[in-house]
């Protein structure tokens, strides 16, 4: 189960005044990822509603599931899985070790939060995965 390479996909994040932000992480061809955790920061000076979800492909044609959504306060951090109870029935509570196939795409969406100064964080998003080689035709 734990064969593979642990990777921390550190990503800088910049939010600007009253503008939504979307960041996509797509599993490359020939790989499978076991999703271990996701951490994301709100570097803005206003609260932002943030959603972490999974799509079948990079074009986001097919929506698979929502992992987590909620308000992240200004300057605060949220992480998945958190161990906290899901606050809506559409959220997936802490069930780690999700296996993602090639093409599957994690989508992190920061909704616009109103007038703000914006902000940036050099490690605003960290997606931790166990990278595995794809096996056979998928």
């Amino acid at each position: 189960m734990f064969e593979g390479t642990v990777e921390n996909r550190v990503t800088s994040l910049t939010l600007v005044n009253n503008t939504a932000k979307e960041v996509l992480f797509t599993v490359p061809a020939g790989e499978r990822w076991m999703l271990i955790s996701a951490k994301y920061t709100n570097p803005d000076d206003v609260n932002r509603a943030v959603t972490l979800e999974l799509h079948k492909e990079a074009a986001k044609t097919n929506y698979i599931k929502k992992y987590q959504s909620g308000t992240v306060n200004a300057g605060a951090i949220q992480q998945y899985p958190s161990g906290a109870l899901a606050n809506t029935t559409q959220n997936q509570s802490a069930i780690p070790y999700e296996l993602l196939g090639a093409g599957n795409t994690l989508r992190l969406y920061f909704a616009a939060g109103g007038a703000s100064a914006g902000g940036t964080d050099a490690d605003g998003i960290v997606i931790t995965v166990l990278k595995k080689a794809a096996r056979g035709a998928e």
Binding site: V10, T11, S12, A20, V23, L24, P43, G119
Partner: protein
């Protein structure tokens, strides 16, 4: 490229680039430099414990 971000100017998804182990913004196809944009907004300073501060004495 497997990490992309939305461009705040044109709204389209644009590739990010891996620099020294960190995925960072680059110039969008619309011509806007998103890395420069990152330098134009305040940087988040995460709070860290002050290890030199005196320990608080509980009442």
């Amino acid at each position: 490229m497997n990490v992309r971000e939305s461009c705040p100017y044109c709204g389209k998804m644009t590739d990010m680039q891996l620099v020294d182990g960190v995925w960072k913004s680059k110039t969008c196809d619309c011509g806007k430099d998103l890395a420069a944009l990152a330098n134009s907004v305040p940087e988040l300073i995460e709070e860290k414990p002050d290890l030199k501060a005196k320990a608080e004495v509980l009442p």
